[in-house]
Amino acid sequence: MTEVTTSVSLQGRRRPPALVSGLRRRLPLLGFILPAVVYLAVFMGYPFVYLVHHSLLHENYANPAEGSHFIGLGNYSVVLHSGIFWQSVLVTAVFAAAAVSIELVLGLCIALLLQRTIAGRRILIALFLIPSMMMPIAVGLMWRYMLDDGYGMVSYYLKLVHILGPSGLIAHPLLARPWTALASLVVTDVWEWTPFMALIILAGLESLPIEPFEAAAVDGASRWQEFWQITLPLLNRAIVVALLIRIADAMRVLDIVFVITGGGPGNSTVTAQLLSYNIGFGAFQTGLAFAQVLLVLSATVVVCALIFSRVSREGAAA
């Protein structure tokens, strides 16, 4: 942050004093932002306004005869009083927390490995990215096939080493009990998105300035110290980006849940997004579904905002 202050004061001295220099400098930069904002306002603004508006209505999209009438926060009340909603929030939170934290740690380790790889890096990275590049629906189908109790490769080998199977650690099919089903979903998500995480962190690693490391080498810092006190804080930004995007994604997870467990066993893997999908596109109770979506979205925003401000502050302090 010190370098920034320096350049500002440097600027102040270089440029001729102009009292609107701030504003004049800002205008073109605002112009940079404008296209994207306008674009999003048009193409996301209307749908979002529709979303909010219809969350305040009692409406069955598939039944026009019922009409849609304004019930204010009625839908929100129903959702907040619904047991299955809170259960889905819990399931989503557990899933997101587990998946993202594992992806972060794993991604960081792999990024470090890749950074220090001295041969075959190009092909390695291209291949490693495949899981993140596959269609989510295909990933879901693939893992459903592999996790199948009778015909799945994963189940077969787990039975071979007695982790699964009647005489094994887990005496029931993976997808037949709530915790193992959820764990299977987490494993699938980790497999799918760790490469993505690793790539972002790797790009971040590659963009790090050399000076701090040179200085550390001069000071005789150990590998470990270098990592914790220089690399990690500098990677702060990249990690935050990756983290927030993954959290947003994990809280919206639908494809793999839909395909692998369908919410089962019972309702134990019904995530928030799956619930709103069932309500909104299965039962077509759009008012309720939208209310639920907005509630979950608000929660996601709050969580992300907290993480963002917390981690950004730590990075700033470094």
Binding site: E3, L10, R14, R25, R26, P28, L30, I33, A36, V37, Y39, L40, F43, M44, Y50, L51, L113, G120, R121, L124, I125, A126, F128, L129, P131, S132, M133, M134, M135, P136, M142, M146, Y151, M153, Y156, F196, L199, I200, A203, E206, S207, L208, P209, I210, E214, A238, V241, L244, I245, A248, R252, Q273, S276, Y277, G280, F281, A289, F290, V301, F308
Partner: protein, 268 residues
């Protein structure tokens, strides 16, 4: 020898991650009986029947083309709007900066399934259902949000001194952006492009709701193979392989940009 350890580790890790991919490829080459036979067969007589059926019987070449057009279009829009926005946001100092950033992340966080319904209604009103434009436009929304968010980090890492020098030398802000910041943030642009392409390529909700026949993309078309009378696993795996091959090739080609080390030492 210690130098080779990370390389070895990387190879091992990637190999483990690729086991399911190998399984996918093998399944795509199997007949239905073979696909379900236990114990899992790793060596068998391969057959290209699934690929033939998928490409020619089910017309997946068309779907590939559609996916490509939409993905490239959406990525182009997203990179343009996103890099401009990210640069503007990062280089600016004003109060609402963080808030505005958050608006972009927020746009990314809204679940597509929820937006899909109003988007459908809007598209119907403009007679835009089943056109490339509408799909590109909707894909570009979350792609732009994502791109802005991601590129912000990369622009932040571009040192201001370089631009300040350029500006002091008489460069305009646009020039500073285009000729200085952008090239320096190139690895970020490439990484972002790769993921924008992937997100668009793999999107399901918008593609489902906004396409009928002519612009049906791969993810929607894959659903064809998940039939009420049984899932054609081999064919689905074949489509999956066909779908990720171009993205892998593309990622391989742009490697150079992705991981090129930046030496700021020289810049100073």
């Amino acid at each position: 020898m210690g130098r080779w350890l990370p390389t070895l580790g990387a190879f091992v890790v990637v190999a483990i991650f690729l086991i399911p991919v190998l399984w996918t490829i093998e399944t795509s080459l199997k007949t239905r009986i073979a696909a379900w036979t236990m114990p899992p067969q790793w060596v068998f007589r391969p057959s290209l029947e699934n690929y033939r059926a998928v490409l020619f019987d089910h017309g997946f070449i068309t779907y590939l083309k559609n996916s490509l057009i939409v993905a490239v279009g959406a990525t182009a829009v997203a990179l343009t709007l996103g890099s401009l926005a990210a640069y503007g946001l990062e280089r600016n100092r004003f109060r609402g900066k963080q808030a505005l950033f958050f608006v972009f992340l927020f746009a990314y966080m809204v679940p597509e399934m929820a937006i899909a319904l109003p988007a459908y209604l809007l598209a119907v009103r403009f007679h835009a259902i089943d056109t490339y434009w509408v799909l590109i436009a909707m894909h570009a929304t979350f792609a732009t949000a994502f791109a802005t968010w991601m590129l912000r980090g990369f622009f932040a890492d571009v040192p201001r001194e370089v631009e300040e020098c350029a500006l002091a030398d008489g460069c305009t802000r646009w020039g500073a952006f285009f000729r200085v910041a952008l090239p320096l943030a190139a690895p970020g642009l490439v990484a972002t492009a790769v993921f924008c392409l992937i997100f668009s390529w793999n999107d399901f909700p918008y593609a489902l709701v906004l396409s009928t026949l002519h612009v049906e993309t791969l993810p929607v078309a894959v659903g064809q193979l998940k039939t009420p009378a049984g899932t054609a696993w081999g064919q689905i795996m074949a489509v999956t392989v066909i779908a990720f091959t171009p993205t892998v090739i593309f990622a391989f080609v742009v490697q150079r940009w992705l991981v090129r080390g930046l030496s700021f030492g020289a810049v100073k």
